[in-house]
Symmetry: C2
Subunit: 302 residues, 2 copies
């Protein structure tokens, strides 16, 4: 089996949306990613939590076969994010970011994580992404995400990471910010010119646009979901479904695999947004995904 | 052959975008619509222009076989719109609207227009849309567009028109405004509940979302176009390609026809945005469309 290594945040999120609010609910890129990816593949997590991290939140990943031996618990409190969404829910307004134990995160891979075949560097500081990559022996396929904060203050270092990965998953606003392009279509080839073979631009309610150096664009809409309860974690869920599917193919990914992986990521994310936090995601089965995929194919078939 | 009747504006537009600017270039919904639709079908135009309307601009439609006997030339100046686009070009900033002769537009159908099978009521005052509809004997298929201005000041009258049409083509922001829905997906069934069998929500760079009472959603992305020169008229071009294709099928449209019509509208609009005014659109051939359709199918094929 091909294992996936993910490094990212484990967090408690306080979120309000037009559908309601939650306080200190489970969140963080590594949690969303792992829950999604573990439906298809073995996942290994590298991250840090504080003393307040709930035993049930460990158990959730543990029950999905996720290897948590790279997760350190240190004195202090777990990363906490507070945000709100209004109107069309396309953009979160950050009300508070308490880095807490995440501020001094120093990712160290357990020895048995170093042979991981698939690696996903979720949105953390570019130096830390590099530090993780240096510890992995010979990965088959490496992907990364980032965010506006790192683009504005650590762009050079970020470009160093871009040179070392096979694929970037990035949201549309950040793709434009990174490249200075006016739209996702013109941003995509500028991003692959920085190094990676392919880029997947996440467009929220509009779906995704993938671009690969060899085969150009692959673009599809999102599954139509009339009521979005909470979009938090949709991008990390997409990445988890994407990598989970890829790793399960047990081979070096082809473009055909990447296309299918986009669809899987998209179907998985369409569940996440239907409830707060990881509530909907943690209940999704392969049967649910297949059913949704069949509905989706009807929506996009001419 | 099934004739299409269109009622809408004929205008001169002054437009600036990041790609440059044009002054008093040909525009207006009826022009974009007719140029697109006439590639497939016979088109009849009802509209009004001023004494400044250029003979070459008549000739352009005339050369495409468009019947201009419903076009009246009256004392005064032609409708003039001035706008600018910035950044991602998703929204025009209106700098000036001079209604001129359009202010007292009183659409009267020539006798031989009254048997038109397909009718498109472009974005004009709802009372005028009704006035046109009352003059048509027994149309097979009626579509309409509208805009934020009419939604805010003439919503009731607009709802009267909605009850009498088969299909609405509307942009995403206006669909949300009309229904109070948070997104296009939830807006769509609220619009069909007002009367029409189907709605096509135009999403600009993200493509379109169609919804029909009988078969639900049909959603696809736009053709990827790296450099958008001028998005003006893209929606009216979409409608023209859509109706042109439908009318050419010479039968009452099925959902399968409507889906193909969306694709044709979308392919046609992807040309319009590649140059200012009607420059690119007026040169498009059926061969160009077929070529683009083949490229598009590669982009959306899993």
């Amino acid at each position: 089996m091909s294992e996936i290594l993910v490094v990212g945040s484990l967090a408690y999120d306080s979120i309000s949306t037009p559908s309601g609010k939650v306080d200190r609910a489970l969140g963080g890129s590594a949690n969303y990613f792992s829950l999604a990816a573990s439906l298809f593949s073995k996942v290994r997590v590298v991250g840090v939590v504080g003393e307040d991290y709930d035993q049930n939140d460990y158990e959730l990943l543990h029950s999905r076969g996720v290897d948590l031996s790279g997760l350190s618990k240190v004195p202090g409190k777990t990363f906490h994010w507070e945000g709100s969404y209004e109107g069309d829910l396309n953009e979160a307004k950050t009300l508070k970011t308490e880095l807490n134990v995440f501020e001094h995160f120093n990712p160290q891979l357990p020895e048995h994580f170093k042979d991981s075949s698939f690696v996903f560097l979720a949105n953390i500081a570019p130096e830390l992404q590099l530090q993780v990559l240096e510890q992995v022996k010979s990965p088959k396929f490496v992907g990364m995400d980032t965010m506006n904060f790192w683009i504005s203050i650590k762009k050079e270092k970020l470009i160093d990471v871009l040179k070392k990965v096979d694929l970037v998953l990035i949201n549309e606003g950040e793709a434009k910010m990174l490249t200075g392009a006016a739209n996702a279509i013109s941003a995509a080839p500028l991003i692959t010119a920085m190094g990676p073979q392919a880029v997947v631009i996440k467009r929220g309610e509009y779906g995704f646009a993938m671009y690969s150096k060899t085969e150009g664009y692959f673009i599809l809409p999102a599954m139509p979901i009339p009521t979005v309860v909470d979009p938090t974690g949709a991008g990390d869920t997409f990445a988890g479904g994407f990598f989970g599917y890829l790793a399960a193919q047990k081979t070096v990914p082809t473009i055909a695999h990447l296309k299918q992986a986009c669809i899987m990521g998209s179907m998985m994310a369409s569940h996440t947004i239907q409830d707060f936090s990881v509530r909907a995601l943690s209940k999704v089965t392969l049967g649910d995904l297949e059913k949704r995929l069949a509905e989706y194919k009807k929506v996009i078939t001419i």
